[in-house]
Amino acid sequence: MVGQGCKGASLVPVSGLQSGLVLTSYLKGIEMDLAVIVALDVVNGAASLFLLCLGLAIIFGMMRIINLAHGEFVMLGAYATVVSANAGLNIWIAMLVVAPAFVALVGLVVERCLIRFLYGRLIDSMLATWGLSLFIVGFVTTIFGNTTKGVPTPLGGFSVGAYRTSYYTLFLLAMALVAAGIIYALMRHTRFGLIARATMQNPEMAAKLGVNPARIYMMTFTLGAALSGLAGGLLAPVSGITPVMGAAYIAKAFITVVGGGAAILSGTVAASSLFGFINQLGAYFTTPVYGEVILFTSAIILIRLLPQGISGRFFKGQL
């Protein structure tokens, strides 16, 4: 992401001692500008990772379903955005409404036809969702071909001294905060949230109190799928959209949710902030490839040191 910033200023010619002072001041300015740009990239990386993981935090962190098709849910959200935008729909509606609604519908069908038979069967659910991911990739490739698609970034850019960056970076951060706030309010302050949290802890006891666990599982899975679709929609303008793009997301999403631990929100926020920071800073000082290597290495060390994840150590009992 750092490489996307561009130097837009030029040196003003001066002479003698003055030129030395101006140059020093200029270089200090450049360093400050660069620090701001790097900080924005780090925040953007954490926000993107959080958005990417939120759906999985619900489906895997809360429901204990190992959904290996999570990346494909994100990919479907991205394609829904591209197709809608290319059909003339407003890009904001395509990203924020069509993508989550379409993937929620896909999630609902998948839950009713496949997942509901596999609750409590970790290995079976893993195999089934792996097969599902292969099916979705094949299906999308058949329809759209194995080519990269995209949509233009809807917001313009702004300058930070000698560098430029996109307003979309700030928009992604805002969306991550809004999504976290909405999920917190939903889970903490609504009846559905209370029933969902109780049902995921002990479905048999919830049933003894009058809850239909199958219905709550269906609704919760659909919510998780919708959030995955939203992530796909939001990342569509800054990603190359291909049928196999989900593969790039799945490992990152799983290590972040596992690293976050049992608290689906505070754990995911903490893990995505930490891993987003490590990933972006690693990429800045080395290359994006090494950035990923540093990220995965850090994740292994973190899980070794904190087997219950970050929230198992620091946010016990929190949402």
């Binding site: 006891m205 003894k208 109190l209 009058g210």
Partner: protein
Amino acid sequence: MSALLQVAGLRANYGRVPILMGVTFAMEPGEYLGILGHNGMGKTTLMRTLMGALPATGGAVHYRGRNITALATHDRARLGLGLVPQGREIFPSLSVYENLRMGLVTAAKEDLSIIDAVLEDFPRLVRLLDRRGGALSGGEQQLLALARCLCTQPDLILLDEPTEGIQPSIIDEIIETLAGLKARKSLSMIIVEQNLDFITSLSDRVLSIQKGQISGTVAREDLLAGKIAMSCA
């Protein structure tokens, strides 16, 4: 008066192992019915089968004249059956207040005044409302499980070994609370227990269960007089 609950030839298995082998009994509205039995005789299995958590493999259960043998657990709860399970099964990461709110899920609109009314019988829980359920002691969890069940406003409570692992002072508190409820409300209750004092102090009638079958009946008066030759004690 027609029976509130009628159980006829009820059978249930764990896998291929038969546990209930034809349980038959009936109870009247407002009755507190005790069921005594040693470990492994089928007491908890009977409770779980009555609640629908374990499917019946034979026989029938009628509640208020309606055959509920094939009904799902949550539908039985909505009909007015409440279970206080063995081991309490408190939702550990929910607060005490949230655990109580879970007792209100059957109502179309959540009426929090029901919780306030229930808490009048459980003063010990009032100061613990913000604490996580998993952080309570066993006795406090038992009180919470009972209060949560009462929040569902059941007509028939299935109380499974409420004194198991509980300190004596809390057992007395539970007896006092249940006796108070019996005097004030038109509740019915099936109490499964091994604690003879507990079951004697609350039950109108006591059945004994042996090897998955009801093996006899003793009137509460006989229990008080110590005439329990048929019981498992």
